[in-house]
Structures are given as C-alpha cells and as structure tokens.
Symmetry: C2
Subunit: 344 residues, 2 copies
C-alpha cells in the first residue's frame, strides 16, 4: 500500500468560535519535488492563536487560508526527497509546512535546523516566533527597568512564559496570569515568576491589586478582554503596553457588547502618559540573530525554561486548536505528525 | 481710592460643563511682597482647555484648584514692586499668575521675557506651552516623514495651528479639522494647511476620506470624541497617535454612552501596528531651549503664523473660558487684564 499525504483543509469559515465542521481531513498523494524543489515530512506542527485570524476572509495581518486549501501554519520537518542542493535528504528544517504530513518547497522561507544546538521542536516555540514575539515585545517596547513590575497573561503559554522569565532576568518583578491552579503553580515554581494568579477566581481583581502594591509598569497585552479591565486601573505613570495579540477577541463577531471604555481609556493614556504599541513579529525579523544568540544562552544556562504540550497525531489537530483558543493547552502546543528521530 | 486686586475664585466644582455659578469674582488688597518676593501685575491671562481638569477634585495630571482659592493658570505680567534682585520693577515675566490682576512670587517657576525678541503675549502661546506641546508631540512622538499625511483637530487653535504648520515645514501633508467655515478658510489660506474640514458638516466623514487618499500616518489627538471615530478607519499601518489632550471629553461625567470601541480599537492597534502615546508637556521641558530657538526662527521667517483671540477685561474670563471648551474662540485665547505697554 502506498503511503498517502494527510491534509487538513479549511472547509468553511467560522463565525465566532471554530467548530469541527470548519475543517476537513483529506488523503492525497505525497507531492513529488520538481526541479529545485524538495519534499518535507512534518514532524511537529505548531498551533498558535494567530491561526484563528487566518481562517477569516476579512483583513487580518497575515494572509487568509482559502476554502478547500490546507490550513496555514509553520512546523518542523525533515527533508525526505530533494532536487535542491541546499536542502539534503535528512536535513531538519522549520517553515510554512501547513496542516499536512508532507509538503513541497523551493526553499523560500525555510530555515535549516541544527539538532545538536537545541531540540528541533523549539524552533517553533521558545527559539521560534513565540519566543521572538516575547523577546522583542518585552525588551524593545516594554523596556522593563530593574525593580519595575511586569504583568503578562497566558503566563504558562509559549509567549507569556518567556515574557515573565526575561523580565526576571532584567531585574523586574514578574506577575503572571493564567487559567488554572496547576498552571499558576508551574509558573511560580518552575518558571520563577514572583506571583501567578488564576483569573477565574472570584477575587482575582483584589489579588492582582495586592500582587502589584507599586502598580504596573509594563503590561504585555496578549489576551485582551476582562484581564485588561483589571489591569488598567493599576497601570503607573509612563506605563508601556506592548500589544501583540488578543486571544480573547479572536473569536469576536461584529460589535462586542460591554461598557464603552474608549474615552475612559484615552483619558488614562493621557493622564498617565502611557504608551500603547501594536506590533507584529514579522516586522522585526532583524532581531532574530541577537534573539537566537541570547535566548540560546539563557536556555543553555537554565535561566529560561519552557514546556511543550504535544498532541499525538495529525487527526487531532482541529480539536487541539479549538482547545488552544479556550486556554486548554498547558505549554507550547504542538501536534506530533511523525516520529522525531532526534529525541531519545 | 486705593486700587484693589481682582481675583476669580473657584466657588464650586462643576459637574460636566462649568457654569458661571462655579466662579466668584472678589476684590482683595493688592499683595505686599515679603523678603525676596515681588509683585506681578497681570497683563495677559492665558485660558487653556487643561484648566477644566484643574477644577475637578478627582485626580488629573495637574494640581487641582481648591474651593475658595484663585483659579489656576499662567499669564504674562510686569513686575511692579520687588524685594528680589533677580526680578526688577518693569521686568516682563511669564508664570503661574492665576486668574487675578496681581500676584506675588519668590521667583520659582517665573521666566523673564525679552519684549524685543517677540511680543510678550506669545510667551503663553506659540512660544509657550501650547507651541511646545505641538512641537514635542508632533516631532518627538508623531515623527512625520516627507510625503506622509498628518491630521490635527482644533486646527485654528493654539496647538493645532502649530502642529499643521510644522508638519508642512517637515514636508508632510497637513489636514486640519475645525468647527466653522471661517476657521477652515483661515487654516487653509493663512496657515497653509493643504485642506481644512469643518467637522460640523454632514458629509465630514466622506470629505475626510477624500482628503486623505493615502490614509493617515500621524493623527495628533487633541480633541477626542467623534473626530477620532472618523479618523480611526483611515489610519495607516505604523500610524502614530500622539495624545495630548481631549477637549471633547473634559466635561465628561461618569461612564459615557456610545458603542464599545475598545476591543475594536485594540484590534486596529495590533493589525496596523500603531503607536498611541500619551504625554504631558511638563515632562518635556528639556526640549524648551531647542524649541525656542527653532520656533523663534520659524516665526521670524514667516514660516509659522499665529493668531490671538484677546478678550478684554478680567471680568469676562469665565465666559471666555466656557466658550473655549465649546470651540468659540478663534486663535489662542487670552484675557487682557491690564494694558500692554510693549504693544504699539
């Protein structure tokens, strides 16, 4: 029996939260490389909140997936066949492998990995876009000073966990916010944040106040929604708000309900002389070399820890992704599509 | 008959828009200078939107006026009696003279003026805090590049008029927004903005779109309210929003009504990678020397023009101030409290 490719296609565009009806699994022949091309066998598929935006037809900051085409996304793969001298059979690579077991490429946007330097899975996590997003957002836009207080939500996730740990390295206090007692325990005990609070607890707002007796100097905004409402009154003069993503609002349809906070927010922005800075990591790839050097050394020295949440089997990708948008993952979410020969 | 001091006291704190009941005019003896002190006779009293905030008890970015005490504010004055070697009788000065005909000072925060260098009234206008607010907000935080589009509201006012003219000097397009056809004509013909639009016209939003075919790169936010709603959809990727004051919301009481724009605004901030920067000019006095040098030369060369709206008589200060909050002034609003001996 011939081995087939497995692909998750975008079947229909979701309204609000995605459901399993929006995805379709198909089997197709494994692609054959043309001249200068090579075939990649996916090992790890990365699942990230931004992918929800790519399911929309409406303008997002990244290209939309087309109906009937594979879901977009990056992953870690091994080259299995090659007509390209730069990518040899057995090479490990990272790039836009999409939601599929096999993909073909001419090498554009594909990065080779050294499995001896770091586990290959980290290329889509702590040493990949999530790590870079945390690094650039915190250091370039958050600019925490020694003794300042940094707050980040989704603190056990791929981005938040790095934000807090880098804040600690820079001498700031790190306050995390997460969605369960288990996650909070991990963030405090393993990652070394000063405090981590469960936003689902009824006295969350009071606990956040108590955790920030000197107010908040940097709020790394990566969730939106209710957490921001709790943070806003605690922000200090000259606070910085790097804004990199808003999981809580990705599923938003039409005009959300709730109090009109914009005028009050602008008033606070002025009175407290705050800076709100939206950014998208693809504008900041020039920071990649320094990031890889510095983050690599922090991981090597144990100053930065990371956790992976690996779901087995490409069949389970949509369910894992829908869980991600609800905060069900615990650590950087990956789907293992094929065996990782580098892992002992 | 002995000449008396006239003082406008804060009688009560306004709820929403101030009314004449909030102010009380009293006559008191002219103060006598103690050791190291001097008496200043107010010539021009400056009226500025920020003063509305100082009437509140609630936290604003500047000290509140106390009930029964003179309204706070700066002005231009002449020294009439002095026990301070640094300030001689006949010296012209600028400083916190409050809403009164005479004040006493030990010199703290008082700046001497050279009436030969520029008309003394400009020390609270184009060469004073409003001019510096425009200069720092536009150049340091707006950072307009040649060919970019800069939009500013209250374009005939003390701040907005300078913002647009400096934008033009830097090679950007300047689009003004104002509240009457007269003001718009002045902004286009006298100040040299590319276009000025009357926000009270029913097709204002369409006209703003037409005036900004390449979108908006810098929105200098100094009014808030409906104007911002019209600007937001036109903002370009990497747009900068210096936020220096919000006349439209100074009178706001409690929770304003209207659509909940905060989540949508955050979405735009992220997708367009915009920067919103609240600032208060007193944090940026280090820019004063360069500002005075550069702005002085622009005024001297005729590249920057300014207009003053001078109300005669301290008795008319509250009415003029209430009109200012409604946009009734046309140019930098001053109250002439006594004769200006330097004006021909």
């Amino acid at each position: 029996m011939t081995e087939m490719n497995k692909q998750w296609l975008l079947k229909s565009r979701p309204t609000g939260e995605p459901t399993s009806d929006n995805f379709e699994l198909v089997e197709t022949p494994i692609p054959v490389p043309g001249e200068g091309e090579f075939v990649m066998k996916t090992i790890y598929m990365s699942l990230d909140p931004y992918m929800r935006g790519r399911m929309n037809e409406s303008k997002s900051y990244s290209a939309s997936a087309e109906i009937g085409e594979p879901m977009l996304g990056s992953g870690v793969a091994v080259v299995t066949k090659s007509n390209n001298a730069a990518f040899k059979e057995g090479d490990y690579v990272m790039g836009m492998t999409k939601w599929q077991a096999y993909s073909v490429s001419d090498g554009a946007g594909i990065m080779k990995l050294d499995p001896k330097a770091a586990p290959i899975s980290t290329a889509v996590g702590v040493l990949g876009m999530p790590g870079l997003t945390a690094y650039v957002g915190l250091l370039d836009f958050g600019q925490p000073k020694e003794g300042e207080t940094v707050v980040v939500a989704a603190a056990s996730g791929a981005v938040g966990s790095v934000v807090g740990q880098v804040a600690k390295i820079k001498g700031a206090r790190a306050i995390g916010i997460a969605g369960s007692a288990d996650k909070c325990a991990y963030v405090e005990k393993e990652l070394g944040f000063d405090i981590c609070l469960n936003y689902k607890e009824p006295d969350f707002i009071e606990k956040l106040q108590a955790a920030c007796p000197d107010g908040i100097d940097v709020y790394y905004e990566n969730v939106g929604g209710d957490v921001f409402d709790a943070v806003l009154p605690l922000l200090n003069d000259f606070a910085r708000i790097p804004l990199c993503g808003r999981i809580a609002n990705y599923n938003m349809v039409g005009n959300p309900e709730g109090p009109n906070m914009l005028p009050a927010f602008f008033g606070d922005m002025l009175i407290k002389r705050m800076t709100l800075k939206g950014f998208i990591i693809s504008d900041h790839y020039d920071r990649l070399p320094e990031f890889l050097r510095e983050m690599g050394s922090w991981i090597g020295s144990g100053q930065i820890k990371y956790k992976e949440d690996i779901v087995q089997g490409i069949e389970n990708a949509p369910e894992a992704f829908m869980g991600l948008l609800k905060g069900k993952n615990f650590g950087k979410l990956l789907v293992q599509v094929s065996e990782d020969p580098t892992r002992g």
